[in-house]
Each structure stands twice: as C-alpha cells, then as structure tokens.
Symmetry: C2
Subunit: 440 residues, 2 copies
C-alpha cells in the first residue's frame, strides 16, 4: 500500500467518507459548491491553485482583459466550506482496486472519485502543428499567445524582407467554433483600433487574418442563422474565412491548406478537443476521442464509485451517440446533479438520471456584434447584433467567479468600448513553450 | 561598420538628430515625455515593452495587486508622440568612438545617448544569496515571489516534519529600507487576514516574519521619527525586527546572521542596489557601486554626447560624495532637465545645472499605518499613521502611469480595505529562476 499523504484532516472529519474530485473546471467547481454541507470530506485536486474561466481566454490573449480577472483561487472560493480540502497537484494514476489515486504529491485514498479533468487540444496526430501552433486552453496558453503576438509585431518592424514581415503579422486561426470566431474578431479589432497607433511604422493593411474551418459553415453547435451572421460580421471586419478547408500540415512557417499555402508564424489551433482522462481505468471505457463512457448517473461504466463529468465524460445514449457537447453547461449541470446523487448514494436513496437542460449558446465577434441562440423554456430566441452582444456580455459577467472579477471585467469592457483600446498589450515573462525562431 | 537596424524612419524625420534613450524607468520615461515636440528622432530601448512602477512591486508579490495594473506599455504611453520610436531589445555595448550601440536586435547610431538603465540588486558578492534568495526589482521577480509564497504554503500542508513546515512558512527579509519594511508589513497582513481562512489546516501562529537591517534603525533615508514609528508599527503587526544585524550567508535553507541562524526557504533580499551601467565606457567613469560619474548636466565624465540619469548616474559633488539617493524623484527631475538641456545643446544655448528639489519620502507598513516626511517648499511636515497612509496612497495613485491603472489600483485598495482580502493569490506560470527544492 502506498504511503498516503498527510491531509491534516480535522478531527471531526475523521471517519467520514472521502469524495475526491480531480479538476476544478466548470464541472468540478459546481460539484464542490453543491457538495457543501454534505457529511463527507471533499478533496479537490487541481494542478492550478485557481479556477480558469476558459470562455474569456481569448480576450486575455488579445490584450483585452488582464489575467487575474478571469481566474479565481479555489481556497478563496471555498473558504467557508467546512469539509473542503484543496490539494494542488497532478493526478497521475487511478488505482481502482485499491480505491486510491497517485498524485505528484503522494497517494490518496477515496471512497468516491469524480474525474472532472476536462479536455485537451486535439492536434489529430500532427506533431508539427502540436509543436509550432498556439492552443488556447489554459491561462499560460493565453499569456504565451499574447506575448508572441506582441513580440512578432516588434520584430516585424525590424526587417526589410517583406515576406518575413508578412509572416510575422499574418494570422491563421484553425477552427470555426466559438474560440476561433471570437479570436478572429478580436484580432480584427486590434488591427482596426489598436495597432494603427502602436505600429505607425508598419504597413498594417498587410496584416491578414485567416479563419479556416473544415465544414461548410461557422459555429456548428449553433443555428444556421447564427453561423451565417457570424460569417457576415467577420467579413465586415476584414477576416478571410475559408470554409470546407482542411489543414494538412504546418512546416517552415507555412500552413499547408487543402487548396493553398499560407505563410505565417502565427498559427492558432482551435480545431478540436479530446477528452483528458486520468490513467488507470479499463481501456474499454474510453471512447475514440479519449472520453470516459458513463451511465446516466455519470458513473464510469463498470465502476461503482468512480464518476466522470463534463468534457471528459461521454454519456452515450440512443439519441446522443457522441454524448453531450464538450462545453460548460452540461458539465455544470452534471456537477450539480452528481452532488445530490452522491448524497443519495450515501443515504441508500434512489439516484436521479441526468437530463440536459439546453439553454442555448452564443458567441461574440466584436463590439455590437454577437450571435445568440437562447432556449427560454422550450421557446427559441435567436438574435444577432447589438442586443445579442449585450446578452452575451451579461451572461458572461454573471458566469464569472467572484464579484470582484465581475467588476474588473465590466470596467475593462466599458473602458474598451469608449476608448476603442485594449490595454493589456504586455509581454510578461518568458513563454512556457518553445518560441518561433526569428532571424532578422 | 556594423549593420544598422532598419528603423523605418519616417521620411520627415530623416536628417534629424537621433537621441537614443536606454531604459524606460522613472528617469527615461520623464525624459521621453519632456522630449515631445523636440526636433529630433527619439528612440527608446527597453528589454520590456512596458514601464514598471517599481514602488508597488511588493503589493504584486503579496497578492494585493494584479500585475497589469502597475505596468504600462510604452507604445501606448507615447502613441501621440510624432518623433518617437520604441525598440524592444537589450543594449549590450556602447561604442562611443563610433557613436553607436550594439543591441540584441542590431546596431544603432546615435547623436545623443542617454543611459537610464537603473539599478540591479546588490548581493555583495555572495553567490549563495544570489542564487537562492528572492529579489524584487522586476515584474517577473514579483510574480516569482508570489508563486513561491503560495507554493510553499501548499507544500507546508503536506508534511509532518515540523522543522520543514516552519521553514516553508517563515520569512526572512533583509534590508530595512522601504521595500523591506513594506514587504514585512504586507506579509504580516496576509498572516493576519488572509491565510487564516486559506490555510485553516496549518498552525499559522508558527509563521514568523523576520526583518533584518544592518544599521541601528529602519528607513535610513527618512527622519528618525519615521524610522521609530515604522519599527513600532511592524512590532504591532508581529514582525520580528533585527537591527544591527548582518547576513553572513545562506546555506542549506538557513540564513546565517551575525548573532543566530534562522531556517527558512523564503529569503527575500532587499538589502542593496548597484548601478546597472551598459558596457563600453571608460572604466574610470564607474564608481565603486557601478554607477556612472556624471557632471551637473548629467553628462558622463569625458564624453560630449553621452548622458546618464537616475539610479545609474552618480552626480558627485562636495556636498554629495555619493551622488543622489537611488530613488525615483532625482531620476524624474534629471529626466525633465536633461530634455531641456538636450534642446539647448542642439540650439547652442547654455545648459542649466541640476539642482535636486527634495520633496520628502514615505513608506507604508499596513492599513492606516504609514510614515511620511514631506518638504513643502522648505517646510518639513512629518506625520505617521492614518493621515500619512492617506497621503501615501494619494501620491502613489497619482504617480502611476495611466488613468486606467489608477482606477484599477484604487478599486483594489478600496476592496481590500473593506474586505481585508488580497485577491490575487494566484500561481501563474513557471518561475523564471531556479526554484527551491522541497522533498516532502
């Protein structure tokens, strides 16, 4: 038996069952919130000490928001939860026979285990793209991308080689989902409102923003109207959208598309996600895109006390052969339901099945430009433009963790709206990942 | 002749004299501001793309302020300056005979050169301290220290070894100047108001904060009253102040003081600064603490067109055998005067000598606790306590670069005042420097 880490368990909690949650994303956070007051030790593991509000990462990457206003410390969030324990560390292995997990800080026993580890970027096996493109899943990804955009503009000033200059200031974004659409719109606004004063010495009309999507439309998770209007908004902003186009490779600073090659040092990869499961479970329970098959109670198939929620969980039914969409709302709803089901389990009460309440989805392209598909009850509301943009802002503000963060983001948005400015164009620290080599 | 970098000089600026400024700290920033409208190309070199407001770094390090609210992009600051050019890069060598500088991005010619490179941390030749202690001069230093404080508290939870636990949560700060005093006060407030809820599992009464100062008093640049009151404030907050005490070494996580040894993994070094001159000038013009000897016009001795301002400049006179204090006000005043003297030079007018207008100095220890020595005209005003604290906040807010930063810092302060909270206790990115090894 592995040495258990010392958890400094409070005396009154000894003997209570222990629920270990891996990952404090949208699903994990809602689960822990809803477990408040349950008669158990709740232990949250995360490799960060903070929750990240992923939907706004693109605004950090494009200098619109500061890092700290979209992340929130777990210890602060759960300061008043009596039975709550946070442990910062990476979970490396599940040992289901022994009811314990191995982590970077030791081995921990569990009575119930919840895997809420989310998703990672899917490079579809292309090593060149994995090594040289920019993903946007973590706060470090966002800072790296922001640093790199600004560095490349600084470098572009220094060269007489027009091809090199273009390669430094041109962008190719792959993936026409919300992240790709929002990033493309945000870069177009930088080009229009911010870079002309910052880089007066550059020929900014040369800055091209390409958005590449494999299917015939944008925003596949949304209505046709939303996809079409997003396309129109992006074109108005000067973004070059390539539909029905695939990326074959990325080599020598050149993106190899199915119909052309585009030279750029800025390839941003928002083309797909994979489940991010922890090692140690039966290979049979993994789907082809690395999610964990769960039943309608979010129990991983074949295990009594191991659960998965959110992006990493594939609740496959006759009507949903691929499980729920890998977005925040199913994760949050599964977290809330699982909390009450865990309580039911401990009290030998019957469990409730998960039924997803779809409330719609939305994406923003730029100021006064958003697309919203809402479901109010069962009534659909589709809207695009300024009203949609106000809804988008309101919903995102309300979803942020922490009142202070809401205030700070609101001030940043109001400030940007009136000044047309994005104030955080700062290079901070060295990039975590290998940087593009530039020889001037 | 070295290849000159292409500066994409605007056509109308060709032929104008070029003033190259190395470093956008307090001195460089004021100089460039005051050079607005001068009939010359003004080129600012800095290895960062932003100004750093160093006096508030300690609040970033102790989770009080977010990074981006105390730094400001140069390009934004000087967006409306017509003759201004920013270049991000490190200046490696001055070649005075050829009137040019070598930089990480190429070689640049100058007509006038201003060295405003500030100061770096003085470890007094001790390699152990240099490698293992935390300095606080740059924004990366502040982030590294913040990351490390939180990581060490997370690790402290995991050990049964009481000595190790103490070593992780105890602090030794060396240097009783403003940085040391303000850091000690800020850590004491974390201990009192923030850590008790974040780390309920720890025996926080074991957290010791030591402040070590070599002389017999704190805040040597200020009045005796200020030093005494700061000492009293720190003692009230539970800080252990060691006066007349020297650090001999730092080895095996143990600070070797002149009278005792204190085990800690957190040694913060604010004990001294050295000038940070660029290579290439006559060794004769360097002082023992690496500053550049300048005349009363801030001209480096023996050079016609090379100037130094701020911390890196030592204006030695009969009354000032060590030059001006290495703090912001002389740097800013020298920057302003040098701008007009450069204009005078170009117009063959007589130059004005620098006369320092001392307006006093101040330091804060915690909420409602600051010490202020003001000189209003020649009338001294000494005050300590709440009123001093309000003055300190007002002066620092007004000195910040950018209206938006002032608003954000004000909100953070008001928020902290009423909530007793410090919200930015976030670990972001990997540390730039080698981290302390901890084996649990």
């Amino acid at each position: 038996m592995q040495k258990l880490i010392h958890t400094r368990t409070r005396i009154e909690d000894l003997g209570k069952p222990r629920i270990v949650v891996i990952g404090g994303g949208f699903g994990g956070l809602e689960l822990v919130k809803a477990l408040r007051g349950i008669n158990a030790q709740v232990v949250l593991f995360d490799k960060y000490n903070h929750h990240t509000f992923q939907p706004l990462l693109y605004q950090v990457a494009t200098s619109g928001l500061e890092t700290s206003s979209i992340i929130f410390p777990f210890r602060k969030k759960f300061a008043t939860h009596k039975d709550f324990y946070f442990r910062m560390g990476e979970v490396t292995q599940i040992l289901p026979e022994q009811n314990c997990i191995e982590t970077s800080i030791g081995t921990v026993k569990y009575d119930y285990l919840v895997i809420a580890t989310g998703a990672s970027t899917n490079y579809f096996g292309n090593r060149n793209i994995m090594q040289k493109s920019y993903p946007l899943k973590t706060i470090e990804d966002a800072i790296d991308l922001r640093n790199q955009i600004i560095k490349n503009f600084e470098l572009a000033l220094l060269t007489d080689d027009k091809a090199l200059m273009n390669s430094l200031i041109d962008f190719v974004i792959v993936g026409g989902g919300p992240t790709g659409v929002e990033l493309a719109g945000s870069l177009a606004e930088l080009k229009k409102h911010v870079f002309p004063t910052d880089y007066q010495e550059l020929e900014l009309q040369e800055m091209d923003i390409h958005l590449v999507e494999g299917t015939g439309r944008l925003l596949n998770g949304m209505s046709e109207e939303a996809g079409e209007e997003a396309l129109k908004f992006l074109k108005d902003l000067g973004v070059q959208v390539h539909l029905n186009t695939f990326v074959k490779d990325y080599f020598n600073d050149e993106v190899d598309l199915s119909d052309q090659k585009i030279p750029t040092k800025n390839l941003i990869w928002a083309a797909g996600v994979l489940g991010n499961p922890t090692e140690g479970l039966d290979p049979e329970v993994h789907t082809r895109n690395s999610r964990l098959k769960v039943d309608e109670y979010n129990r991983v198939l074949g295990y009594d006390n191991i659960f998965a929620i959110g992006d990493v969980a594939a609740m496959i039914t006759d009507t949903l052969p691929n499980g729920h969409a890998m977005v925040a709302p199913p994760a949050m709803q599964q977290g809330v339901l699982l909390a009450s089901n865990l309580q039911n389990m401990m009290q030998n009460k019957p469990l409730k099945k998960f039924v997803y309440q779809d409330q719609g989805s939305m994406a923003t392209i730029g100021r006064n430009k958003a697309v919203v598909d809402l479901l109010i009850g069962k009534k659909p509301l589709k809207t695009q433009g300024t009203f949609a943009w106000l809804i988008w802002m309101f919903v995102h503000l309300m979803s942020l963790v922490g009142f202070r963060n809401r205030i700070l983001v609101l001030i940043s948005w109001v400030w940007s709206y009136f000044s047309y400015d994005k104030s955080n164009r700062l290079i901070i620290g060295k990039n975590e990942r290998e940087e593009a080599d530039v020889v001037i």
